[in-house]
């Protein structure tokens, strides 16, 4: 019989070793799966995990990792503050959508005027949109004690309908031959979120994500706000005695995560995606929740977790196209990877004990 015993302090060694262990376990189980599907397991694993970084065409894939990973990291950083403080915003997908709609609407309102001011205005609109959308569950929680997990989740569906309505109605491209979808913002120079250095994948969203990681790191380790956040999560009563206003904490954490999710939506709609369309959102808001936990709610961890997720997406596409692996197998492997990463975390916080539990 195995029993778990809580460690007085999370083990530092295990917290570094567990992600590697999880990746290793995924490679073994994934390899068995690929072998069962009649593919060479070593080649497949290499294609998914290494080809995006070290193959002949890595100069193309590496920037793509930034493009794919940036929204995940940006959203996850925002979420991590709330999650640490025990505030569960799981509606980042909705805030991401609303940020994109607001930002795009501002940009489209100026079309076809060219001015340097348009893009900054769009960023502000995107952040505001996401923040306000996140404020709804925040304020309801503060005023009425409503569960923010559920309200923020409900608002994702509302945002999705709003997106469809915008793509088919208000923001539809008048020159689009009647098809749904807005004008392509990436072809409208003043509104486009272009690469800062051509071919590097570094668009403004990537830069913002990296800045967010640094700021989050400083805030959590060096600033009183980070201390309060951690205190609120670990011991709400102690936080209260320390003068932390719980209502303000909820609103700040919700607003922060909503604002960053809104910014991620804006950077995506103005750059890589280009337009408001019915299928604009592809689940970044939900994946970011997983990224936040995989990164153990630590800014550097989130950066690495976002990179790992992006790697499996891009590697998965290469494996589909080069090896004929079905998408289903890749999703299954991603699911396994997440399961293993979540499962081995227990080793960080708990000690495994073998043998019968002793009666004290």
């Amino acid at each position: 019989m195995i029993t778990l015993e809580k460690r007085p302090q999370p083990s530092r060694a295990w917290s570094l070793a567990t992600p590697l262990l999880a990746v290793l376990l995924t490679m073994i189980c994934g390899g068995l799966l690929f072998a069962a599907l009649g593919k060479n397991p070593f080649e497949t694993i290499r294609t998914i995990f290494l080809d995006p970084l070290f193959s002949e065409f890595a100069w193309f894939y590496r920037p793509q990792l930034l493009i794919k990973g940036a929204p995940l990291v940006l959203i996850a950083i925002g979420l991590s503050f709330g999650f640490r403080a025990g505030i569960w915003n799981i509606g980042a997908e909705g805030q991401y959508i609303v940020g994109a709609i607001c930002g795009a609407a501002v940009g489209l309102a100026f079309y076809p005027t060219e001015s340097f001011i348009i893009f900054p205005l769009m960023i502000i609109a995107g952040i505001l949109g996401g923040t306000l959308w996140a404020m709804i569950p925040g304020i309801l929680r503060v005023k009425f004690g409503t569960n923010e997990i559920l309200v923020s989740l409900m608002l994702v569906y509302v945002a999705e309908q709003l997106m469809a309505s915008m793509a088919l109605g208000a923001l539809r491209n008048p020159d689009g031959m009647g098809f749904p979808g807005s004008r392509n913002l990436s072809q409208y120079p003043s509104a486009a979120n272009l690469e800062i250095i051509s071919g590097s994948g570094m668009h403004w969203g990537v830069v913002t994500a990296l800045i967010a990681v640094i700021f989050a790191y400083i805030a959590l380790s060096r600033h009183i706000f980070g201390f309060n956040v951690r205190l609120a999560g670990q011991s709400p009563r102690a936080a209260k005695f320390a003068g932390v206003n719980p209502a303000a904490m909820i609103l700040i954490c919700m607003g922060l995560s909503g604002g960053l999710a809104g910014a991620a939506g804006l950077f995506e709609v103005a750059g890589p995606a280009g337009q408001v369309s019915i299928d604009f959102n592809v689940g970044y808001g939900f994946t970011a929740i997983i990224v936040a936990f995989l990164g153990r709610l630590h800014p550097v961890g989130i950066l690495l977790a976002g990179g790992l997720m992006a790697l499996t997406y891009i590697g998965g596409e290469i494996a589909q196209s080069n090896l004929g692996l079905p998408l289903a197998a890749i999703q299954l492997m991603q699911g396994m990877l997440l399961f293993f990463l979540l499962a081995v975390d227990v080793l960080t916080n708990y000690r495994m004990r073998f043998g019968r539990r002793q009666v004290v």
Binding site: G145, L294, G335, L338, D345
Partner: protein, 304 residues
């Protein structure tokens, strides 16, 4: 516009069928959440149930065996969630989301050889005598057996939670796991059973789509039904009776907007589709948070 074309009797009758898959999935999730566990992987368990049910039904020729297979498939998948969250104490939100991803992949892989095949037919029950009652008969008594089984599960769950000792323990575990543990109840065991029940019900809901509603296997066929089930549980404020109302409301809005469209009424479809979610938020606000199970979403570890 000709609203007289809308036949309320037929509308209600089709509502009972339309609500069945989400009702099944939601009643399972309700029990899980009453036990204090938030499993966001309903969509993944539904689609796995859909494919398991379809495979079993096609190979055995029996839709009944298909439904049993679906329940087992959904429950087995939920065991992964249970082990991770209960024994390895992983975060429930993240694990549930991962379960959906896993379930979508697994179902697509399992169903590869089953595309374009029709499921064995599952005839309606025309209940003698009762089915012949005018007006009520066609609404209530002329459906396939799963519609009634779904309602029976809801009723049984209601009675179980309200009157049985086991139901009391389950609620105690959900409200305050520390106290329940102190009273000597096995928090993990209760939660594992609840999670498996949730998986089995989600599986049945998925199979209702693949065996009765469509009835075919196609990848991604649940198309978000699992997420609606989650919303309904909240709408119902974790009570089986209101769950029925919630499922009919969510199903009803879709049926109603389609009816209005067919009758020629010009309506903004997107805004009407938002309505049930906004209503759910309103219900949450009016009911206040007091109704959510106290330990919902929290990990439990019996530390001494």
């Amino acid at each position: 516009m000709d609203l007289s074309a809308i036949n309320p009797i037929l509308l209600l009758a089709s509502l009972m069928v339309a609500a069945t898959p989400i009702l099944l999935a939601a009643i399972g999730e309700l029990v899980v959440e009453r036990a204090g566990v938030l499993n966001l992987g309903v969509e993944g368990m539904m689609i796995t149930g859909a494919v398991c049910g379809f495979i079993v039904a096609v190979n055995t020729g029996s839709p009944w065996l298909g439904f049993i297979g679906a329940a087992i498939g959904g429950a087995l998948l939920s065991v992964i969630f249970g082990i991770l969250t209960q024994f390895l104490l992983s975060n429930q939100v993240a694990t549930g989301l991962a379960l959906t991803l896993f379930g979508l992949g697994l179902s697509a892989l399992m169903g590869q050889g089953y595309i374009g095949i029709k499921a064995p037919s599952f005839p309606d029950w025309h209940i003698p005598l009762l089915g012949d009652i005018p007006v009520i008969g066609p609404i209530i008594f002329q459906h396939d057996p799963m519609v009634y089984l779904g309602l029976a599960i809801v009723a049984a769950t209601w009675a179980f939670l309200k009157y049985s000792r086991a139901g009391l323990i389950l609620r105690a575990v959900g409200e305050n796991h520390e106290a329940a543990h102190a009273l000597g109840y096995h928090v993990m065991r209760v939660r594992m059973l609840a999670i498996m029940f949730g998986g089995a019900c989600a599986g049945l809901g998925g199979a209702y789509l693949s065996l009765v509603r469509v009835p075919q296997w196609t990848e991604g066929m649940t198309a978000g039904a699992g997420w609606i089930a989650l919303a309904i549980v909240v709408f119902a404020s974790w009570r089986p009776g209101r769950l029925l109302l919630g499922a009919y409301l969510f199903g009803g809005v879709t049926v109603l907007q389609l009816n209005l469209q067919a009758a020629g009424a010009a309506i903004a479809v997107e805004y009407l589709s938002m309505a049930p979610y906004l209503a759910t938020i309103a219900v949450l606000v009016i009911m206040r948070a007091g109704r959510a199970p106290g330990s919902l979403g929290q990990s439990f570890h019996a530390s001494r």
